[in-house]
């Protein structure tokens, strides 16, 4: 059946005329219809538009010269603005917002030929690590419906893991692609900051946000990243650098690959890595060794600062990024405001969830006169130190490997009353965003039936290398093709 096929395979079938895009699109729309009640991974399903797009794709395919992804259905995280389609960011604030324009990621992927199945659920405004902060309710993990899928791109991760969509887009500010990819047993890559345009992607923390693909495998992610990446004149922070063909070097042998293992992340691991998770990761590392790689212990001495630095920088930026949601021009507006102040406080108070409000308050405090130097400025200085740690490490190694999360997916409700312990679930992913470097998560085994993810972290613009390193492993293993029982 089509849902067991990778994007690479589906694309070949479409090009060969073995299946039509309409057929494929209908197949996945049906799968969503039949199974998403269990997962709640979609906020909006675009049946009509998807079928219309699929029809167009079939015509393009027939005409020949259609780009590689033509006709492949994918889902977009509901953080990307989509013309004519509700773009909610999983918030009550934008429950009524129909975007009048497409995000560059959406435009690029459309140009590459993909069909949009719908918009996936997420943590509200991407703030969360469990997908429990969504206005549209929690998303469930396809491997255990009582467990969280991770967040913030939890809907995308769950949808791909259950194969309700062959692939999806996500965004990653502190681990929001990698952590849910790890929890759901899929492959996801957060590219270098500036590699993928942020235009049309609703901002959480502008200096950290980066979009990337979430798929079944590294080779699928390579295909998708080919379509997503590139300079965009509408995003001043996107980088004017040629995009390589990420699929080209997937099969390069790993002989002599130097893999750095941060000692801070292992042994006496910060964040208390679960012993079984650690054992599974060690097994994966041994496999790399067997493929000719060399394991080198490295130091990231400032890694302990990542979480506190992140929880100053990200809330500070989000506190002003979310100021535009004021009930004046679009989005939620409270009933019968008494005056301007009432309009602001009630519209925002009624429409933003608890976690969003918490971060706005923390960030507002951190930027306040008299506190700015002690918090925001200090955090930016420490951020440089964290960045320098990686720079030093890459003088000795080619890639760094680390756990993606300290443990496998926790249960829904388990951490929702304890923000600090929730924040710590991103302890291994956050430093990467602060440094702006690329990293991915790949499935490397199961612990108690739940997927374990391993992170592969690269130097700036080393996405091709990461995908190659991941792909070689996936050629020898089948963790990434294993499906949850209920969604086989």
């Amino acid at each position: 059946m089509y849902h067991t096929k990778s994007v690479t395979e589906l694309s070949a079938m479409l090009q060969a005329g073995e299946v039509s895009s309409v057929e494929l699109t209908r197949y996945f729309l049906d799968r969503i219809k039949n199974s998403d009640e269990k997962l709640n991974s979609f906020i909006t399903v675009c049946e009509e538009q998807a079928l219309a797009q699929a029809k167009e794709c079939d015509e393009r395919l027939k005409a020949g010269n259609a780009p590689a992804l033509t006709g492949v259905p994918v889902a977009h995280k509901d953080i990307f603005c989509t013309d004519g389609v509700k773009t909610s960011c999983a918030s009550k604030m934008l429950d009524n917002f129909i975007s009048p324009y497409d995000a560059t990621v959406v435009t690029n992927m459309r140009a590459a030929g993909v069909v949009m199945l719908g918009k996936t659920n997420m943590d509200e405004f991407a703030m969360g690590s469990s997908n429990e902060t969504s206005y549209y309710g929690a998303v469930k993990n396809p491997w255990n419906l009582k467990a969280v899928p991770g967040g913030s791109s939890g809907g995308s991760a769950a949808a791909v893991a259950a194969r309700l969509a062959p692939a999806a887009t996500g965004t990653d500010t502190g681990g929001s692609i990698r952590q849910p990819a790890a929890f759901c047993g899929i492959t996801g890559i957060k590219p270098t900051y500036g590699r993928v345009s942020r235009f049309g992607m609703i901002a959480f923390a502008s200096s950290l946000d980066q979009a990337g693909p979430m798929g079944q495998s590294a080779s699928d992610c390579a295909l998708l990243l080919n379509a997503m990446a590139g300079f965009d004149e509408k995003d001043s922070t996107s980088i004017e650098k040629a995009v390589p063909d990420y699929s080209a070097d997937l099969d390069k042998p790993l002989d002599g690959l130097r893999i750095g293992l941060p000692k801070e992340y292992f042994a006496h691991a910060e964040g208390g890595m679960n012993a079984e998770v650690e054992a599974i990761i060690k097994t994966a590392l041994d496999q790399y060794k067997a493929m000719g790689a060399e394991l080198v212990e490295i130091e990231l001495p400032n890694s302990a600062l990542s979480v506190p630095v992140y929880y100053v920088v990200a809330p500070a930026e989000c506190s002003t990024n979310l100021s535009r949601f004021d009930g004046v021009r679009y989005g939620y507006r409270c009933e019968d405001p008494k005056d301007l102040n009432d309009l602001y406080t009630r519209s925002r108070g009624e429409a933003f969830g608890e976690e969003v409000q918490r971060r706005i308050m923390v960030g507002t405090y951190a930027l306040s006169s008299g506190y700015y130097d002690a918090y925001y400025l200090k955090a930016q200085q420490l951020r440089q130190l964290i960045s320098d740690d990686f720079k030093n490490a890459y003088e000795k190694v080619d890639v760094i490997m680390a756990p993606a999360t300290p443990e496998t997916a926790f249960n829904i409700g388990e951490k929702s009353d304890d923000p600090i312990s929730m924040y710590l679930s991103d302890i291994y992913t956050i430093a990467v965003n602060l440094a702006g470097i690329p990293a991915m998560s790949i499935p490397v085994g199961f612990s108690d039936g739940m997927p374990v993810g391993m992170q592969i972290i690269g130097n700036h613009f080393e996405e091709a290398r990461l995908l190659n390193v991941a792909h070689k492993y996936q050629q020898q293993t089948d963790w990434h093709t294993t499906l949850p029982e209920e969604f086989k």
């Binding site: 960011c89 001043s236 100021s323 535009r324 004046v328 021009r329 301007l340």
Partner: protein, 485 residues
């Protein structure tokens, strides 16, 4: 308040600093491609960026940077190698993002200076602390919607250069002189249209007073958004008066923002320091620092047009204009362009300068209008002066012709023709007038011949009167002298 500045306020010294907002004359907005044209239907010149839809990002308009650098070069200021855009956070319905993108710590233009001429004729140097780029907000329309406020975001994102002075001015007149100087300069270098009615050029004035001789400044009040030279002068003077009265009555000036009401001619409090926003400035992560290279600076410097002071000097040296005439003419780009046209067409710079600083300026002042709104354009004005030069009319008649032209009665030639004002240069005809006047005033003529030179004026005047002003005065003089022999 017309007494000389030094004694204007008795024992008090006034300290003024200005923050001028010059709207940059770019075609599109500072961070979006939407048009900046004035006067469109509300919210028709707004892109997704200007209305701050979710997900949009600002992209810096290079032309705005170019214009800011041009200004920096024109005031010989330091133009920063690296300047940074910051977010200034506050909530207001016409501020779509909930923050204004501005420059805080690292502005694009650093310290420079502007020279102003005082009424005494002396020159005073005013420090320009900095000039930075920022975006304008939209407009809130309170009148048209009962119980509601309309928001027009056409202006949101319009590029502004905020030019901040040192507190170097000591009277409202100095402040006006400084503001006019900047007003002229930004128009000369083509970065602002200077249109004050449309708000393209406006200022905030920081005003304080202190006892003469005291080192430290008094507490200042900030007067917001003043958009005419006249209002600047009046607002400052009324505020100074308020502060002095307050202190002399035993009160204290509080630091606050005040609004000038031009109808009531008073300032009133908008918000005090305690109520002031904490703007939570921080570098905008959506924009990269602006990097200016030495090469770019050189290139912009080379592009600078002739500046007012250079032009004044040239007019004095090359055209032989007086310092006063050259100063008046070059103090406004529009006036100096007017002059350029008139002088070129008449081939007589001095005559053109006299008439422009005299008759033309008098009429503009009387009607309180700008040269751009003058009823007689430069070409028509030049023709009038040409008719003086070719002796078709006298200078005196020319003033009457100008009045008629000003009222729209036609060109100089049409007015001269229709009113029969052509000068009489026929010696025979003039001699007939002269003879008649002498015949009618024999005793006075004897006095003239007897050496009473004052009588000359009487006789010329009588002849001019008889000829209805049309006799050529030089010829009249000459003929009377001949008759005296």
């Amino acid at each position: 308040m017309s007494s000389a500045a030094s004694n204007e306020w008795g024992q008090w010294e006034v300290v003024i600093g200005l923050e001028i907002h010059a709207q940059l004359a770019t075609r599109s907005k500072i961070f979006s491609g939407a048009s900046t044209a004035y006067g469109a239907e509300p919210n028709t010149q707004t892109s997704v960026v200007d209305i701050a839809l979710p997900g949009v990002l600002p992209v810096l308009n290079k032309e705005a940077v170019h214009m800011a650098v041009k200004f920096g070069m024109a005031i010989k200021a330091e133009v920063a190698d690296r300047s940074v855009f910051d977010r200034k956070n506050y909530f207001y319905p016409d501020l779509p993002k909930g923050y204004q993108i501005s420059q805080f710590d690292l502005p694009i233009v650093g310290p420079g200076t502007i020279d102003i001429e005082l009424e005494s004729g002396e020159t005073k140097t005013i420090g320009v602390t900095r000039a930075h780029l920022e975006e304008d907000a939209g407009k809130s329309l309170h009148e048209d919607y009962a119980g509601m406020t309309g928001i027009d975001l056409n202006r949101a994102g319009t590029p502004l250069l905020e030019i901040v002075s040192e507190p170097d001015m000591r009277s409202a007149k100095e402040a006006v002189a400084y503001m006019k100087k900047i007003h002229t300069l930004v128009q000369y270098i083509g970065i602002c249209d200077g249109n004050m009615q449309e708000g393209s050029f406006r200022c905030d004035a920081n005003v304080s007073v202190r006892p003469k001789g005291q080192e430290e400044y008094g507490t200042r009040a900030e007067l917001k958004n003043i958009n005419s030279f006249r209002f600047v002068e009046r607002a400052i003077n009324i505020e100074v008066e308020r502060q002095i009265d307050l202190i002399e009555d035993g009160g204290e000036v509080v630091q606050e923002t005040r609004l000038y009401d031009s109808v009531k001619n008073e300032t009133r409090s908008m918000r005090s320091k305690e109520e002031a926003n904490d703007y939570r400035y921080f570098p905008d992560p959506d924009l990269l620092p602006v990097v200016i290279t030495e090469e770019y600076r050189q290139q912009v410097r080379a592009e600078l047009p002739e500046l007012p002071e250079q032009k004044q000097k040239r007019f004095m040296e090359e055209l032989g204009l007086s310092a006063y005439d050259a100063g008046v003419i070059t103090a406004s780009l529009a006036l100096s362009s007017y002059f350029d046209t008139v002088a070129e067409k008449t081939g007589d710079a001095k005559l053109s300068a006299n008439w422009i600083t005299g008759e033309l300026s008098a009429r503009l002042n009387r009607e309180e209008i700008d040269i751009a709104d003058a009823a007689v354009d430069a070409g028509a004005f030049a023709l009038l002066l040409s008719r003086i030069k070719d002796n078709t009319i006298s200078g005196k008649i020319a003033k009457d012709v100008l009045d008629a032209m000003w009222k729209g009665e036609g060109s100089a030639d049409e007015v001269i023709e229709s009113k029969g004002l052509k000068q009489i240069t026929d010696t025979g005809a003039i001699e007939a007038f002269v003879d008649e006047v002498i015949a009618n005033n024999p005793s006075q003529f004897e006095e003239l011949k007897g050496g009473k030179d004052k009588m000359m004026g009487f006789f010329v005047g009588q002849v001019m009167k008889m000829s209805k002003g049309k006799a050529n005065p030089a010829q009249v003089n000459e003929l009377i002298r001949q008759k005296m022999k």
